[in-house]
Symmetry: C2
Subunit: 257 residues, 2 copies
């Protein structure tokens, strides 16, 4: 694994956060081809990060939500979501952030997710995960100890796509990377997504794995992000949490026909 | 209606927000009799607000989530939720705030809700509602114009208690007052609650009404907050939005048996 200067990466994320905060609450969205929103902030942040990364790591590829896609055959490829949670950002909701992942041969090996409004910076390299300077790890308690105050992060189409039988609370927050990071820090017991791309998964997945968590399909297969490297979306339910937790959760979540 | 100094009230809310922010992310909760969490911040903020209100409005009653209850027979009674969204606050989630409502003969006539992390201050007196200095109003578009990017705020037990047939997104944010205020500003199309008390309703309801919205039961009856003045909880589904919106929403939301 190459050497990554995390302090420098955090500085880029904070610089990106400042751009976003200046536009927050009065951002205007236009619609992309897939009908998802994009703002001036998404575009400006992606441009900034691509500039910084190409200057510092000229031999690496980059894929970004806002159309960046080059040198995808390189050993190292960065996956960027300039604002993960653009719809929340536009709605004036506070859960959104800047997601930066580094793929090594397609596998997330470094991740950083920064939420400007809470000033939370999650990051991981290989098997060490942190929130700021604090090491983090997933909640590993077994199903018999789950209680009414435990919570799952669920997607915004859960009311249509999922049946969820869970004793605790569900929260739909509007950012896939945030959902995964709340699991990584042991705040959420687990997370469910019904839609995922490499740019909203790469950073969070590196952080989650380093925090002791995993991503699996509803059938229990390990989530393999490598086929997503060309930018395609995965549209099936995915579960995130401690290995024992996702095993148990699989029995409580069902895709609706 | 008596004269209320909104600038002063905003200053109290910001002072309260500073207390909350100092404890955010490292707040420790204890459980109340009903198993809901309470932190040092909830208690300190309620104490501060009660002190300020009794000094300035000595003839008024006050009810607060953290056990304040006096002079409930007065013409004017303040309903306080020092942190609406305590569970979110403890979980490190950003949607929570300070809710202050003023009841005139049991009817919410003034409301203020302040979210420290976004610095959003919603407030209303009688028929004027604002976010900061900006007038706000609910989204009144008819059902045939609802689309996939519209969103409803739903409660954290929706997966157990509700069937929701809605074309757009659902978000569970962790604060009843915030849910109602996102409706009042026209960001959310509507909100659903399954649990409500006078302290988490009073402020938001005054703001929502002034922004052109209403609260109704699932059967379509106007929400009457007066029976809640003794602190009891209402445990039935409630809908919030523009009058036409809640009428339409009633056909899309069903309580589960």
């Amino acid at each position: 694994m190459i050497d990554i200067d995390i302090e420098e990466l955090c500085a880029w994320a904070r610089e990106s956060g400042d751009i976003a905060l200046r536009l927050f609450s009065h951002a205007r969205a236009r619609r992309k081809a897939d009908n998802s929103p994009v703002t001036e902030a998404d575009v400006a942040i992606e441009r900034l990060l691509v500039e910084r990364i190409t200057a510092r790591y000229p031999d690496h590829g980059i894929i970004g939500e806002e159309q960046t896609q080059f040198d995808m055959t390189k050993e190292y490829v960065w996956a960027l979501d300039p604002i993960d949670g653009t719809a929340s950002f536009v709605a004036g909701l506070p859960v959104w952030g800047i997601s930066i992942g580094l793929l090594h041969r397609g596998i997330p090996s470094m991740g950083l997710f920064y939420m400007p409004l809470t000033n939370d910076c999650y990051w991981a390299i290989e098997d060490r995960a942190f929130l700021g300077h604090q090491p983090i790890c997933v909640d590993t308690k077994p199903e018999q100890e789950w209680h009414s105050e435990d919570w799952l992060a669920i997607p915004s189409d859960a009311h249509r796509r999922l049946e969820i039988d869970f004793i605790g609370k569900t929260r739909s927050l509007g950012s896939a990377a945030a959902a995964i990071c709340y699991v990584a820090r042991g705040s959420a017991l687990g997370a469910v997504l019904t839609y995922a791309t490499i740019w909203d998964l790469a950073g969070g997945l590196a952080i989650l794995k380093a925090a002791g968590g995993v991503g699996v399909t509803l059938a229990g297969q390990p989530l393999d992000p490598r086929p997503l490297i060309d930018g395609r979306a995965l549209r099936e339910p995915l579960l995130f949490g401690a290995p024992g937790t996702v095993d148990s959760l699989r029995r409580h979540i069902r895709a609706r026909c």
